[in-house]
Symmetry: C2
Subunit: 333 residues, 2 copies
């Protein structure tokens, strides 16, 4: 399978080079070449937000570095969490007395390496607070939410914490807010066709031509249910029912939907998905507000999408809509 | 091949329904359901910009309706130009004494139906000026630019004319500016893998596993050259050489690059392409400024990309960077 690459050894570096060349007013390489940071750091009094993640899912996470969102992203190899040493480099480089929230999307490598980096940073006297993010209802049952995977719904945490940090919120308050956003978010995904690994050049999984997998992870982790291809309305209703069963929705209370494309799904389809999500919510008297629609957290050119719902309170909604100046996060209105 | 649809008969309507539900502050359906227009029309003194195009290429064009860009988009069936009657409905609905520029991306159906609609509108006394857009250097030789196809580089016209119209520019001046932008733009595309037609469920063309087609059109029109898969740097150099041969670039004079994804190409790859474009320009002393990178004009999930270059003068650059409030056009800085 074809990929637009100079070669496997340089593909992450080539991507970062293109990214910082494209958006020089907003982002720059850190002293460590795998750290992407803001071009113009904020004053020391602002708490920093840092995330480490494997590459291959762009624009998440480096596309969301910039004013109003992340301060930095430590970029790992394709689908591989960055090492604890590398995350520690990022924590050191961004460190200020106000402290850093280390965002950790719950996948095994990210948790192990992130927690180790946070511990090492603490031993060096840095103020670092890890924040675990998880939202995928297919990856562990109700009551065991802390064992779930982080999926596209983690973007609500990035954006809302980013706006709060920009406004001067302190370290403890940011962690509490991040936990509240996480706890108010649920995600469920569906996969239609595999992405191609740039490492192997091969499809990341197999999927029968007439089936859809529910609950596929961002690295191609197997889904929890198979369904035959069916009208979109029925598929979305199945997924919305599951989301609402996991965390009941309250008529009249606003919900922010995020329809995320897995990479190879057309905007035509994502908009149609959103239409069904909005209709499902409207039929139950639940206002859908300020949605985001796009291929924001991807698995190469995988076909599929996820629906994330944030049961937002007034503060979360205000921060979700706050301006940001990142290279690639959509404008929310 | 799987698509997320309720059915072929309703897919365009379902998409439009999702789109206007998602962005109610910015866009609305017209009286005619295939017209997507601004939610809040500007005062009558502003010249309107309208485009008709086949659907299946989203976010182009309806994603770019809104303040600072288009006033309306007449949405055709998948890969099919809207009829002259439908375009005429759009022209009537948007009509004001200040007049309308009808943007026509040069493809046969769009030209025939657009010109007919413009004539019929003129017979009704409406002030309508068609503007032909073409930029694809692979589709006709130098000296026959007016026979070329409209490709992703037409976005420069949308954005720059949109900003000028918002600032109060008159009908004749807008057409002249649009022609100048068009004449300063060149595009060349490459295809790696076919998109799947939502009409037939089948791949839109065949392509050997080890080959890249140069000059593939947005509807899967055949390319003009085949190349073996090669390092990205060499492919981009081949394309940049061809673009610069078609319209020479001047050291020191700024160029705006647009790296457009065909739909199924990852952001990782598009950023890497941009890196090679920027390096090619830098090596020749040509400043690359305010780029746009993304899957903005797509052919379903086709794998591939195009490079567009705008040799921008100061006014074009200012208008390219002007604020806009569309649902899906990226923020340019």
């Amino acid at each position: 399978m074809k990929k637009l690459l100079n070669g496997r050894d340089s593909m992450v570096e080539d991507m970062i080079a293109g990214f910082v060349a494209a958006y020089p007013g907003q982002v720059a390489r850190g002293r460590h070449p795998r750290l992407v940071r803001r071009a113009v750091p904020k004053a020391d009094g602002k708490v920093r937000l840092l995330i480490g993640n494997g590459s291959g899912h762009e624009p998440i996470a480096m596309g969301f570095v910039g004013e109003g969102m992340l301060d930095g992203n430590v970029v790992g190899d394709v689908f591989a969490a960055p090492s604890s040493d590398l995350i520690l480099e990022g924590l050191r480089e961004l460190a200020t007395p106000a402290g850093t929230v280390l965002l950790i999307s719950r996948h095994e490598g990210d948790v192990i390496n992130g927690m180790e980096a946070a511990m090492l940073a603490a031993e060096e006297g840095l103020a670092v607070r890890p924040l675990w993010m998880y939202d995928d209802i297919s990856s562990a049952p109700r009551g065991e939410e802390q064992d779930r995977r982080g999926e596209a719904g983690t973007l609500f945490v990035y954006k809302i914490l980013g706006a709060a940090a920009e406004a001067g919120r302190g370290l403890d308050a940011l962690v509490a807010l991040g936990e509240a956003v996480r706890d108010a978010t649920r995600t469920l995904g569906a996969a239609l066709s595999p992405g191609i690994s740039p490492l192997t050049g091969r499809a990341m999984f197999g999927l029968p031509e007439d089936e859809v997998f529910i609950g596929m992870g961002v690295h191609g982790e197997p889904g929890v249910a198979r369904r035959k291809v069916e009208p979109l309305r029925d598929l979305v209703a199945f997924m919305m029912d599951a989301l609402a069963e996991d965390r009941p929705l309250v008529p009249g209370a606003p919900v922010v939907p995020l329809v995320n494309g897995a990479g190879g799904t057309t905007m035509m389809e994502l908009l149609s998905v959103y239409g069904e999500v909005a209709a499902w919510l409207a039929a139950r008297g639940i206002p859908a507000v300020s949605p985001a629609i796009g291929s924001l957290s991807t698995t190469q050119e995988m076909g599929g999408f996820s629906i994330s719902l944030l049961a937002a309170d007034a503060e979360m909604l205000r921060l979700w809509r706050a301006p940001q100046a990142t290279p690639q996060f959509p404008v929310i209105r």
